[in-house]
Amino acid sequence: MDGVERPVWAPGDIDLSRPSIARVYDYWLGGAHNFAVDRAVGDKVIADVPVLRSVILNHRAFLRRAVRYLLAHGIRQFLDLGSGIPTVGNVHEIAQSVDPTARVVYVDIDPVAVAHSRAILTGNELVGVLQTDVRDARAVLDSPEVRDMLDFDQPIAVLMVALLHFVPDAEDPAGVVAAYRDVIPAGSFLAVSHAGHEDGEWDPAWDDAKGLYNRGVSPITYRDRSSVESLFKGFDLVAPGVARLPLWHPESPDDLGDDATHFIGYAAVGRKP
């Protein structure tokens, strides 16, 4: 066991001397569900790569847009994988504001994030929280939380927001997606946001960000448009297909920054036919 570096998101001991990606995200989003070690990493990353702050806000904004899109398309069940610490603008808030009967299951590997989620969701009968490695689709899908909460005869939206770039090729991200795809019924959706860029595009800041992530948070894999597209095997991509993250169904042209067309990340939503 010794000698193998344990990823920070791995379950097991609750070690507050290590940063947690969920708590670092919370910090970046303006939350206080974090500790000095998380803030130290968060501050260092933002200081070195200021653009990341916008990247993170964009992923969070995509989540909101995607959930609203899915609600508009009749989806009332959500499986949010890698949900992290519920700060504000969470899936169930958005969904249940539209339809109070909407159901959500949050899944994360971070036991603290999950404990926190459970605490604040106490009393909400339509939301489940599960602590599991989302890469183990079998464990997620067979869990009582998922089985009791979600009706697999009705469409389900699987959300993988800012998740799959933490799954290296060696761990077969397409396989992870496929495992969920094979179980959800026709008419279900998959929403993905993913860090990445095209060949030839290059910004020193991206490498810096990658380096920081790899060292301090979790190893990150950038993927290009076609790689992200290939994760949607078995889904029909909804317009506009795989888009730069801010360009996927923007709420207003005013929301788009100057960097939108070469934003370091993609988003897409697909429907299982």
Binding site: L57, R64, N90, H92, V112, H116, A119, G123, E251
Partner: protein, 721 residues
């Protein structure tokens, strides 16, 4: 998230009271405000929603500026609402305060007089304070929430760990297999219930022990060698069969698996023993092994165990010499057949008991080989006498009668003894020689022992070789016939010749009849061999008849006892005579006294038939057997051949043995009285010939006249006349 669920939109109080121009100004300010703060905090709202939210707050501000009496509370409220809407980035506050100061009065079309400036400043201050307080509270609440989450998560992890520990503890406690844990020095730390019961010690007692205290004197050396390797970290686990002594002194056979547990640095830390009680299985195995290696009737070791022990004697070579008694009861078959197998079995049991009793001791083994054969192995004998003593003791032990079911049985045994140095021999040699020697003891008269004799064996081997190769030799024409003249003493005329078979053996050279006739009698080959000699002699006689006419000699052919009893004899002789066109009176058949006298009726009838046919019958070696002289008169016999042994006393030129002379004279007179011819065998000197002639003997045979010779030499002899 109930605590975070807020209504982001502050209801505009008395909105309709405001001047439309002021409202438009407020809306314009709210848009500028939104642009200024978007991106400074993450709020889960679209830009339009943010602008709408801020427009409402702006209207609150407008009311506050104009309210009478003037209160700063709405400013405080707006600060708090910003935090509630998650405008938690502190840049949001900075930009808001600045924008209020710079743009608000202008956008609203309010004259920036002293009063308004003062009121705005007071509201800015209140907003800041409200914001700071709300942010502080929110921060503290979230910090508390995340710490509570950590505690919850820890509690859950600990609960999971406790549950897991409880499961493992239950597994350890309840396991049917014995489990023990010791540190690397061998100090026992814990043992489960199964192991306590298996060994009969409590945990407390076990903790007093070191693993090495559990050493059993009969542990295989590998058990503890592997233990040393394991505690040294050289191997991670091993399995072994091991005995433990129980608290009550009994022993437990176990199947032991010992595993090494290493610490995080890979250093040996604990050892875990899994111990399964296999005593029952072991006892069963022992019993099965005992059954496999012992004779169920007598309880003695069986052939398999004996051979295993004998093999070990040769493998170990700890002893220099060893001996075997191979024993077989005499006449056991008769007892078994006449009194029944049950009595036979009881007899064997008693014999086994006596054998075991008489030879018990270290290095000695009595085994039943099967049937009524027993064998005694003596390891480390000093000399042959040691084994002879054992054999004598056994024979003595068997002398006293055995009483079984009302029968008083007397048994004896024959014993073959082999005793020798181990080097240069093998277990198989020893067994074979003992077996051969037992056969000798039987052949020599039973109820005795015989000692292995290599010379005797060599002879027997040679005899065996001869008898085994004889049939093929007959096929290959390795036999031939020589002829010895029978001379009429009256005028020294050759009247007949005796056919004498020889064997030109490819390995042993020329063999005289005494080397192989007896063997041929034993094997039965004498019948075809005799027929072959008869045919060969008759053909030769025919040739002489053709060449010499009436002067041709008859041929005298020996007839073995077995031949004389062959039912085909008469037919064979007739067929051969016919084949050769030989008149029957040119053939004489020689039989020994015993062949003629001791016979039943049938062979006698055959002789009579032959005699009637015209064939001459001679009694060979007459005088050496016990002839029934009265009976002789009735036999179809034409000639007596007096044995050469009577010629001894007639041999010397100057002096004669009166008794021998008298015997020969009497025999001749007897023969003549019965109207039989007399031939003297073994005539070797002129004196003998002269005396025999004087006594009245008709014919002589011997070296004095001629040795046995080739037919061509006989031709020469006949022509010379």
């Amino acid at each position: 998230m109930t605590t975070e669920q807020v209504d982001h939109r502050v209801a505009a109080p008395g909105r309709s009271n405001l001047d439309p121009a002021v409202l438009a100004g407020a809306e314009a300010f709210a848009r500028t405000w939104a642009t200024a703060v978007i991106g400074s905090s993450y709020v889960p709202m679209t830009r339009a929603e943010v602008a709408e939210h801020l427009r409402a707050l702006t209207e609150v501000l407008v009311h506050a500026l104009h309210a009478t009496p003037f209160r700063t509370a709405p400013g405080y409220e707006i600060g708090a609402r910003l935090v509630e809407a998650h405008f938690t980035g502190t840049d949001t506050l900075g930009r808001t305060i600045q924008l209020l100061g710079d743009d608000l009065l202008g956008e609203l079309g309010i004259a920036p007089d002293e009063l308004m400036r003062s009121r705005l400043a007071a509201l800015q201050g209140a907003l800041s304070a409200g914001y700071a307080r709300a942010l502080r509270e929110r921060t503290l609440a979230e910090q508390e929430a995340i710490r509570a989450a950590v505690l919850d998560a820890r509690d859950q992890a600990e609960a999971a760990l406790r549950a897991s520990e409880a499961r493992f503890r239950a597994m350890f406690t309840e396991a049917a297999i014995g489990i023990g844990i010791a540190d690397i020095e061998g100090r026992i730390l814990d043992v489960n219930q199964a192991l306590q019961e298996m060994l009969g010690f409590s945990v407390e007692e076990m903790r007093q022990y070191n693993i090495r205290d559990l050493m059993h004197p009969e542990d295989g050396s590998t058990v503890w060698r592997l233990y040393d390797q394991l505690t040294a970290g050289e191997c991670d686990h091993y399995r072994a069969e091991k005995r433990f002594r129980r608290a009550d002194g009994e022993q437990v056979w176990t199947h032991l698996t010992l595993s090494l547990v290493r610490d995080d640095h890979g250093e040996p830390q604990y050892q875990v023993a899994m111990i399964e009680d296999v005593t029952d299985r072991h006892l069963l195995q022992n019993r099965l092994r005992y059954q496999a290696l012992h004779d169920p009737l007598t309880g003695l070791p069986n052939r398999a165990l004996f051979l295993e022990r004998l093999g070990r004697v040769f493998n170990n070579r700890a002893r220099r010499r060893a001996g075997l008694c191979y024993l077989d009861l005499d006449g056991f078959k008769v007892i078994n057949d006449s009194l029944g197998h049950d009595i036979g079995d009881q007899l064997l049991v008693e014999v086994g008991r006596r054998l075991d009793h008489s030879v018990s001791g270290d290095g000695k083994l009595v085994a039943r080989m099967g049937g009524d054969e027993f064998v005694i192995l003596v390891e480390g004998s000093r000399d042959t006498q040691d084994i002879v003593d054992v054999a004598d003791r056994v024979l003595r032990e068997l002398e006293s009668p055995i009483r079984i079911g009302g029968h008083e049985l007397t048994v004896s045994a024959s014993i073959g003894i082999v005793e020798r140095e181990l080097s240069g021999t093998t277990a198989a040699d020893l067994m074979r020689d003992a077996d051969i020697t037992l056969y000798w003891a039987k052949a020599d008269g039973k109820s005795r022992w015989a000692l292995y004799d290599p010379d005797r064996n060599a002879k027997e081997v040679a005899r065996f070789t001869l008898s085994a190769t004889m049939p093929a030799a007959l096929e290959r024409d390795e036999f031939y016939v020589d002829y010895q003249p029978l001379v009429r003493l009256e005028d020294s005329t050759v009247v007949g010749v005796e056919a004498l078979v020889r064997w030109q053996h490819p390995e042993f050279g020329r063999l005289a009849p005494d080397r192989f006739i007896e063997l041929a009698e034993e094997t039965g080959l004498i019948v075809p061999l005799g027929r072959w000699v008869l045919r060969r002699a008759c053909r030769q006689a025919r040739r002489w008849l053709e060449e010499f006419g009436e002067a041709a000699p008859f041929v005298s052919v020996n007839l073995a006892v077995r031949q004389s009893r062959d039912p085909e004899l008469v037919r064979d002789v007739k067929r051969i005579l016919d084949e050769c066109a030989l008149p029957p009176h040119h053939l004489q058949l020689e039989l020994t006294e015993s062949a003629v006298m001791g016979t039943a009726d049938e062979p006698l009838e055959a002789l009579r038939a032959l005699s009637d046919m015209g064939v001459r019958i001679a009694i060979d070696d007459f005088g050496t057997g016990y002839s029934n002289l009265a009976y002789l008169k009735h036999l179809p016999v034409h000639e007596l051949k007096i044995a050469g042994s009577f010629m001894e006393g007639l041999r010397a030129a100057d002096e004669e043995d009166a008794v021998d002379v008298q015997i020969v004279s009497t025999l001749v007179q007897l023969a003549h009285a019965l109207q039989l011819g007399v031939t003297a065998e073994g005539v070797e000197t002129p004196a003998q010939a002269k005396r025999l002639h004087r006594i009245g003997c008709d014919t002589g045979q011997g070296w004095f006249f001629a040795k046995p010779m080739k037919p061509a030499d006989i031709d020469e002899l006949l022509r010379r006349r």
